[in-house]
């Protein structure tokens, strides 16, 4: 069955481009130009994934409102923000509202495809897990850290760690070779995204914070100034 993806984007050209690109990838795509029409559409049937722009026509934060109402409808629906806004504040508020990923419009279609596929993969694995199917997932264990590549999930000391896709891939790139410093470009490539150095730094910070919420003593992610970051060799 074809997966259904809804694109809510006020710019007709972009909407059409993305629709066509996704259709070419074999998705069933519906485009909505604004929030009311999208809401109306989602009332009858929810798509498998929603891609939203933050600013929708006259509503500067229409995307956020839509995200909020969608999350109210479904907690598991994958939501990706695709927007021209690149400020950290917007990204943080989007992720707080329950968005699964936040991409800026400077990312390429290929990147978008990668993100979409990654999200679907995670959804599938979560669904399998929930339905009790045997787990044959690819796993990576580094000390107290366990990563499930298929489900894009992470556990620290058997406690689940709630990471976004970007954060997951950054962490994955770090832990792959403990003790090896990864520079920012490598981390960016791993996360399949174009981010500036500073955003990488803030991602790392957020990842650390998430670890530290579980374990105040956490210091496995080390900064190699001038090089990048590395996963502590003691946690291998």
């Amino acid at each position: 069955m074809k997966r259904r993806i809804a694109i809510v984007e006020d710019e007709p050209a972009i909407r059409a481009n993305y629709c066509e690109a996704l259709t070419r990838q074999g998705f069933d795509v519906i485009g909505y130009p604004d929030r009311p029409s999208a809401c109306a559409g989602f009332k009858t049937t929810l798509p498998d994934m929603v891609i939203i722009d933050v600013g929708l026509g006259d509503e500067a934060e229409g995307g956020f409102d839509l995200c909020r109402s969608l999350r109210a409808q479904s907690t598991t629906l994958p939501i990706i923000f695709l927007t021209a806004r690149d400020s950290e504040v917007d990204e943080i508020s989007a992720l707080r509202l329950g968005a699964d990923d936040y991409l800026t419009k400077s990312c390429s279609l290929a990147q978008l495809m990668a993100r979409i596929n990654a999200l679907f993969r995670r959804m599938t694995s979560v669904g399998q897990h929930a339905s009790g199917k045997p787990a044959t997932d690819e796993c990576l264990t580094r000390g107290r850290l366990a990563l499930n590549i298929d489900r894009l999930s992470a556990h620290w000391n058997q406690t689940p760690l709630d990471l976004t896709v970007t954060e997951f891939w950054i962490l994955h790139a770090l832990v792959k070779h403990p003790g090896h410093a990864k520079n920012r470009t490598q981390l960016m490539d791993a996360a399949n995204t174009v981010l500036d150095d500073n955003t990488i730094t803030s991602h790392i910070k957020r990842i650390r914070k998430k670890f530290q919420e579980l374990d105040g003593q956490f210091d496995a992610i080390q900064t190699a100034y001038g090089m990048g970051y590395r996963w502590s060799a003691t946690e291998a």
Binding site: S106, N198, G226
Partner: protein, 676 residues
């Protein structure tokens, strides 16, 4: 020149107050003087109509072409001793006599009148006098002193005084005996020559007196011995007893009857002398007053009469008298040299009924006017001093207030701009309604406008980048879609190039907003304590491992330095500085990274060899969109150093750029406070 000093200079205009006052007092004085002169003139005009006044001084009148011998009034009977000591107490003075030849002994004489006696004192400067031998007969040609006296009846008596020795002259032989008056005298030798003092009854010389000293044909005296007639007239000063008119004079006025030659025929009254009694009460003030007046007069000048009379006793000569002789009446003022007074005078000629021209001269001092004007002056000085002091204090105070306000405005303006030329919105406009208040409001408005404009410019990049992203996304996604379609080889290349271009445009847009995004990010950064030395060391190792054509010189000459801040930001700061240095260092040249600490602060320096900074750019290179890179060097928007500055400011540090002293390169220095 500071405003305060300018105002002080301007306030010197108040010095015009005493000047104007002084001019006024001077005018007042002049008016008063003119008034007094007028009064005096009226007075003498009135006085000359009185017969008693017309009679005064007539007692001794002359018409002799041989001139006059003036008899000074003597205070007491002279002791006939041949010495002039007792004459000194009178105003009498020696008058030089004429001489037939130059080398003949000089003769000086003085005549005097006391009561009914006439006195004559002769002083002859001669080495020796050839006394007559006792046996020699007295002759008209003998050496000696000849004296001619004409009495009231017009009879002339000739005396030939030819002593045989110094001493009394009473027994001297006489030429003409019948009506001979009683002459007594003394012949006395002195170191300079000899002196003769003699006395006659006044009546015996009433119509004339003459004398001459003879030696052979030569003579000296008032008349030639050969032809004594006409004899000079004797004139002398009349006393009050002789003429009751002399007691008519009012107080503080001196009235003189003058002979044609200026001899005083009669005189009554005295001019008042200046009285200082008013000021004697307060001795300090009495001291200060003449000093103040003196300074004032010295600075501003003082009205002084043009003429200073310096006539000998018994005689008067001044412009008023001269004019009165010419015009019949005159008034004026002059200084009297002897008494140091300023005299106002009025003179009229007396009716010439007798054929003897005389002048009536009335004089008064200006003491009253002077005292009045002095009083006014002193008051003027004190008032104007108070006025000047008051207005100066007021002006200075006001100037101080004004300059304080201006200075405050200046400081406010200066403070509203930080060293990087960015506006800090701290300008509070004054609410004053005057020009300064308006200026302040104008500045506030201007700064507000500039601030708004700067904000607009800063936001412009962000907005532009935001607005450009959507069309760029359209282009990109369209191209990517296009590349999915079946393409010819040539088409793929074009799409490839277009994608490449749009990618670059995306990077540019990204860079444009980097600074403002970073600024926000910096504000939200969390601080921690970290070791700067370790961080720099680690970074330095990383830089050295980079493949680059430059040489590295790392100089970390310190132990651990603990800073409180964001280590990633510091790393980024150093990245930016090193990145900048690498861009400007020619291949083979050196980049030097130094870290040293001096207790309270540490300095992180990045020094590169290469081109110098242009003049005046050492601060501006830290501003947005300033880049010294070559135009073809794309992808740089001159934000690296802005980021460096922002990070530095976040840590409370200072960043500066300067050329090396030998102009070999550029030195960037970051100074940060060390945590203690």
């Amino acid at each position: 020149m500071k405003l305060r000093h300018q105002l002080l200079l301007v306030s010197l205009i108040t010095l015009l107050i005493p000047w104007a006052g002084y001019q006024f007092v001077g005018e007042l004085e002049q008016t008063l003087r003119a008034n007094q002169q007028q009064h005096l003139l009226h007075y003498v005009q009135l006085l000359r109509t009185l017969p008693a006044v017309q009679q005064a001084g007539l007692a001794s009148q002359t018409s002799s072409p041989a001139g006059v011998v003036y008899g000074f009034s003597l205070p007491a009977t002279m002791i006939l001793d041949g010495y002039d000591d007792d004459w000194q107490s009178s105003s009498a003075r020696f008058v030089p006599a004429q001489s037939s030849t130059q080398n003949f002994p000089a003769l000086e004489y003085m005549a005097g009148v006391q009561g009914e006696r006439f006195y004559l004192f002769l002083k002859i400067a001669a080495e020796a006098f050839s006394y007559r031998a006792r046996r020699e007969a007295l002759s008209a040609t003998s050496d000696g002193l000849r004296l001619y006296a004409r009495n009231q009846q017009g009879l002339r008596t000739d005396f030939i005084l030819s002593p045989v020795e110094p001493g009394s002259l009473s027994d001297t032989g006489l030429m003409d005996a019948p009506h001979q008056p009683k002459l007594s005298g003394i012949w006395q030798e002195t170191a300079q020559g000899y002196q003769v003092e003699l006395s006659l009854p006044l009546a015996s010389v009433a119509k004339g007196i003459g004398f001459s000293l003879t030696r052979g044909k030569q003579w000296t005296g008032v008349v030639p011995p050969a032809t004594p007639d006409p004899l000079p007239d004797l004139i002398y000063r009349q006393t009050t007893e002789e003429n009751p008119a002399l007691s008519l004079t009012p107080a503080n006025t001196q009235i003189s009857w003058l002979h044609e030659d200026g001899w005083i025929l009669a005189q009554s009254g005295t001019t008042a002398t200046e009285s200082d009694s008013r000021w004697q009460e307060d001795s300090a003030y009495a001291l200060a007053r003449p000093l103040l007046l003196g300074i004032f007069r010295w600075v501003l000048g003082h009205q002084q009469p043009a003429f200073t009379e310096n006539s000998p006793p018994g005689q008067r000569a001044n412009p008023v008298i001269q004019r009165a002789w010419r015009e019949g009446m005159a008034s004026g003022w002059f200084a009297h040299a002897e008494e140091g007074q300023i005299i106002l005078a009025a003179a009229v000629t007396l009716p010439d009924a007798t054929g003897h021209p005389r002048l009536l001269l009335a004089e008064q001092t200006t003491a009253e006017i002077a005292s009045l004007s002095d009083q006014a002056m002193v008051r003027l000085i004190s008032v104007s001093f108070l006025l000047i002091a008051g207005s100066l204090a007021l002006l200075l105070g006001y100037a101080g207030l004004l300059s304080w306000r201006i200075r405050r405005l200046r400081d406010q303006i200066q403070q509203s701009m930080n060293p990087q030329g960015r506006l800090q919105n701290r300008f509070i406009a004054s609410s004053a309604g005057d020009e300064l208040g308006e200026l302040s409001q104008g500045f506030a408005h201007l700064l507000h406008e500039i601030h708004a404009y700067t904000d607009y410019l800063e936001n412009f990049a962000r907005r532009l980048s935001h607005e450009m992203k959507t069309p760029l996304a359209i282009v990109r996604s369209s191209l990517e879609n296009l590349s999915q379609e079946s393409q010819t080889e040539a088409g793929r290349i074009y799409i490839e190039r277009a994608l490449d271009g749009s990618q670059r445009m995306g990077q540019l847009l990204h860079a444009m907003t980097e600074a403002s995004r970073l600024e926000k990010a910096i504000q939200t950064s969390t601080r921690e304590t970290f070791d700067l030395q370790a961080l720099v060391h680690e970074l330095a190792c990383a830089y050295q491992s980079l493949e680059s054509p430059v040489q590295w010189h790392i100089d970390i000459d310190t132990g651990p330095i603990f800073l409180y801040g964001a280590p990633e930001l510091i790393a980024q700061l150093l990245d930016k500085l090193v990145d900048n240095a690498r861009d400007f260092t020619p291949p083979g040249k050196q980049i030097c990274l130094r870290l040293h600490s001096d207790g309270d602060a540490c300095e992180l320096e990045v020094i590169n060899e290469g081109p110098c900074l242009p003049e005046g750019m050492s601060q501006t290179i830290f501003a947005s969109f300033i880049s010294l890179r070559a135009p073809q060097d794309t992808g740089h928007l001159g934000l690296g150093l802005v980021i460096a500055r922002l990070i530095c400011e976040f840590h409370g540090g200072r960043i500066s750029a300067s050329n090396l002293p030998d102009q070999r390169g550029v030195r960037f220095c970051v100074r940060l406070a060390v945590q203690r």
